[in-house]
């Protein structure tokens, strides 16, 4: 890589990727029968990828960039074209080490049951990166089959899904399976250091938190109605705009910020109040999701977390988290705080690529047989986002406990191209939109 000298000698010491950081407080465990130790990186770890979109492909690339002998051996997706594109991108990426991306034709699986075939194909670790609605089913099956797992956030879109993930997380612990969740801020050096300081009382007791994911929105619907083979095909290709697949943007993106607040509090909210709606993204092509939410979460000790997420262009944007304490204020995402006494601190360490480090940490744990399980907080932060959505859609306060007891499932009864999603459009192509004050969510 060619760079001008003063670029590389810049004071900010730009984005040097650190090597795998040691995994937290790792205690070597006695190993269960289903867990395998990949000693010294010599043993080959065989990876399978379920969900071959941009993020799944990125996650596979990061997994393959961890230390030690490793190979992508199997791929699964609902769509063949997504899988082929993903494979060719990975082959390009690893053209210098082609042995790392070696997926035989018989290890390419397509369709709704592709994940099952992949789990039976002899892989050691599975990356779950389909749209989030499928995560609980996929995670449960992966644990059942004794696979180590990296799964993208959020880990569910509805409450039954969250419960399924929590149950499977317990089983994964019993089986000594390592589970990583793509809430990568937990592996980002500036967050780790800042939150450690907050917990050490840098700004006193935390009295409130606020966080935002305000941006211009995500990709436009990819498939036009007339191009779709069926309603299922239409929603699958345009998955961001359907709740069973995505969980709305409070769940799909804003979870990162909500999760950081939970991390700071070491707790999950007990109640939420919310408001939101569809102000700009009203066309029928935008399915059923909202374009803005403002939610107030309450923790058990009375502390509040104020959250906003917005997908509207040309407005104030911010993707950040902040904490107010009895003795100061912290810009968590900016990795700086200031005390009422006038002391200022700012993170000056190296910047790391958290998407790489989260894989470095997970695979180090797998190789060493160290206990590693992020599924529980992943599921509970997912639940926090869902709680915010339920409060917003209903326009009423919703408690964690009553939500957790809900059996309202967003998932289709049948997973096939002919199967019907729970929400379908009217004769004009419009979907039923949740209406605060009227919509029942529990």
């Amino acid at each position: 890589m060619t760079q001008s000298n003063n670029q590389s000698s810049s004071r900010r010491d730009f984005l040097k990727v650190t090597t795998a950081t040691a995994v937290g407080t790792s205690i070597l465990s006695t190993l269960g029968s289903s867990a395998h130790v990949y000693a010294n990186g010599d043993d080959k770890i065989k990876v399978g990828l379920v969900g071959c979109g941009g993020r799944g492909t990125g996650a596979a690339s990061q997994a393959l960039s961890t230390k030690g002998n490793i190979k992508l051996e199997a791929m699964a997706d609902a769509y063949r074209d997504r899988m082929d594109k993903s494979l060719s991108n990975l082959q390009k990426q690893f053209s210098g080490e082609p042995e790392k991306v070696d997926v035989a034709e018989e290890k390419k699986f397509v369709g709704f049951d592709a994940y099952q075939k992949l789990l039976d194909s002899g892989i050691d670790v599975v990356i779950l990166a389909t749209p989030p609605g499928f995560r609980p089913i996929h995670f449960e099956a992966a644990v059942e089959k004794g696979k180590h797992v990296f799964m993208e956030k959020p880990v569910a879109t509805d409450v039954p899904g969250v419960r399924k993930v929590l149950e499977a997380a317990e089983k994964a612990k019993e089986k000594k399976l390592a589970v990583g969740v793509g809430l990568q801020r937990h592996h980002q050096a500036n967050y780790i250091e800042t939150i450690k300081r907050l917990k050490d009382g840098a700004i006193g007791d935390i009295t409130s938190l606020r966080c935002y994911w305000n941006s211009g929105g995500v990709w436009e619907p990819r498939l036009a109605r007339e191009e779709a083979k069926s309603e299922m095909d239409y929603q699958m290709r345009n998955w961001y705009y359907y709740n069973w697949l995505c969980g709305d943007h409070i769940n799909e993106q804003h979870i990162h910020n909500i999760d950081v607040c939970n991390w700071v509090k070491d707790a999950f909210p007990v109640q939420a109040y919310g408001m939101g709606g569809r102000q700009v993204r009203t066309d029928k092509k935008y399915g059923e999701i909202y374009d803005h939410f403002a939610v107030e979460f309450v923790y058990e000790d009375g502390t509040r977390m104020y959250s906003q997420c917005r997908h509207i262009r040309n407005c104030w944007n911010s993707v950040t988290e902040h904490a107010q304490g009895t003795k100061g204020f912290c810009d968590i995402s900016g990795a700086k705080y200031e005390t009422t006494g006038g002391y200022k601190w700012r993170y000056r360490g190296k910047k790391t690529n958290p998407y790489q480090v989260e894989h470095d940490d997970l695979f180090a744990a797998i190789r060493q047989g160290t206990p590693y399980n992020e599924a529980e907080y992943g599921a509970k932060s997912t639940m926090t986002s869902i709680l915010g959505r339920l409060a917003t859609y209903s326009g009423k306060p919703v408690t964690w406990d009553e939500a957790m007891a809900s059996n309202v499932s967003l998932m289709p009864k049948e997973f096939s191209w002919e199967g019907q999603p729970v929400t379908v459009p009217d004769e004009n192509g419009y979907y039923p939109i949740p209406m605060p004050g009227i919509t029942k969510v529990l």
Binding site: T2, F14, L15, A59, N89, S215, G216, R313, V319, R346
Partner: protein
Amino acid sequence: MQAKTALLAILCCSSSVAFAADPSEAKTEKEMKPYTQKITNTDVSFDMVPIPGGEYVMGSPADEKNREEDEGPQVKVKIEPFWMGKHEVTWNEYDIWSFNLDIQRRKLMRLKSDDKEKAADAVTRPTKPYTDMTFDMGHDGYPAICMTQLAAKTYCKWLTEKTGHYYRLPTEAEWEYACRAGTTTAYSFGDNPAKMDDYAWHYANCNDTYQKVGQKKPNPFGLYDMHGNVSEWVLDQYIPDAYKKWSGKGTVEFPVSPTTPEKLYPRVVRGGSWDDDPEALRSANRIASSSDWKIQDPQIPQSIWYHTDAIFVGFRVVRPLKVPTAEERKKYNLDPVIPADEGR
């Protein structure tokens, strides 16, 4: 009667426009004046400053403090006249293109689209950014950042269709010529970095963020923030010894190292930024882009439009007096070429 008056007023108005010397319609170097370019169907405009043609010596002398190897040998270059953005392109301007704000506003006002807008609509607009690309450092009046060179070039193409005037990125040689503005010192205000705070936002005075454009003193050509605030994209591929190829050939006309979409890195940004120390802000300093500028883009393929980590990179536009022919555009790779597998 009222209708007639109104019609007359329109006629008078339009004819007066035709007769007045519209500075944006200059045909010769002599007629070139500063002008304000409006962007149709928005309330956004930006200022262009005439840069006279001439010759200068590109690169830095061997004895310049903090000079780097890639800044020499010095080359004599001939520059044709052009206009240059008085300021770095701001989010107000850039977001019109990236978020279709002109079309949204026109529809809200129930106006019909004209031919220029139709042509502009045919230019690709970027996918939506994954996250907030201002990184909460400010929007209105602040320089747009984090775009790839392709995005900056495509913006220029859109702007060309939208306004009917030919806009593009400056070449590296044009940029340095405009930055030096007749000077031969390390900075356009001399050699002494102690004067830096009057002219530039840099690491020591910026409070860890970019700043609104145009707050410091301009250079002798009347251009603001050429040193510091954000580094600026130019058209060239970064070739460390590019000047060696050009030196010893007398006065070089229109030197540029063309880019190809297959070879994304490194390309050149100039001027240094809020996140740099004074030596990076020197007129001759060259900065090469790298894949690190996208390190936090979690997708594969990575976005062709955004550099998730280049929060110190922006650009400004130029408008050559002589519009290049299709052949010239092709010869120098002036047009943006979107790679076939852009992976959206």
